[in-house]
């Protein structure tokens, strides 16, 4: 497994020749908007 996406969308890639095997963050996921609509809130 040389490349994988974290549960929050960040992309990690294996660092060549790393010992122990280590992964670097190559692409960070865009943050979702912090303004969330409250459930049941009045429009």
């Amino acid at each position: 497994m040389d490349e994988w996406t974290d549960k929050n969308g960040d992309l990690y890639r294996l660092i060549p020749d790393s010992n122990p095997r280590a992964y670097e963050l190559v692409k960070k996921a865009k943050k979702a908007s912090s303004r969330k609509k409250k459930a049941g809130a009045d429009e």
């Binding site: 497994m1 974290d6 549960k7 790393s18 122990p20 280590a22 992964y23 670097e24 963050l25």
Partner: protein, 156 residues
């Protein structure tokens, strides 16, 4: 009837009395996860050590949890304080779920002898052999050692 004392001393399991093997007959640490029944909790220890793993901003593989393991609990122990010239954080988790056990935790909370709950995303079932990783973010570490103890059952 002639007797052979050496053969007399050789007793097969089926002739042994219940409870014949007690603590005195077992070598310390002789029983590992493989010898335990599937319904018994297993325990594995993973270690992040700056001295052997380095402290670069990255996700470092500490070991692997077996396929179908159902992780129910555990804890992390800071054996040597985590230090950094920046505002580093450390998370403990799995490939594709880097904070499954411990969410990103600032170095100031990773002082000597701190014990952390590792229940962030638990319980979890492994699909395939799954690498356990420590994720260093924000700044590189300059020291630190963390032991991660994971308790799991063999799933079906």
């Amino acid at each position: 009837m002639p007797q052979n004392r050496k053969i007399q001393n050789f007793v097969e399991n089926k002739f042994m009395a219940d409870d014949a093997v007690g603590a005195a007959e077992l070598v310390d640490d002789a029983v590992g996860n493989a010898a335990l029944g599937a319904s018994q909790p297993k325990n594995v220890k993973f270690t992040y050590a700056f001295s052997s793993d380095g402290g670069a901003v990255s996700s470092i593989t500490l070991g692997t949890l077996p396929d179908k393991a159902i992780v129910t609990g555990g804890h992390a122990e800071v054996e040597a304080a985590v230090t950094s010239s920046g505002s580093a954080t450390v998370a403990l988790g799995l490939v594709a779920n880097t904070d499954a056990f411990v969410a990103a935790t600032a170095k100031g909370s990773l002082t000597l002898n701190t014990v952390l709950a590792t229940s962030n995303d638990l319980p979890l079932k492994m699909s395939g052999d799954t690498p356990v990783i420590a994720t260093i973010a924000t700044g590189a570490l300059t020291a630190g050692k963390i032991n991660l103890f994971v308790e799991y059952y063999e799933g079906a």
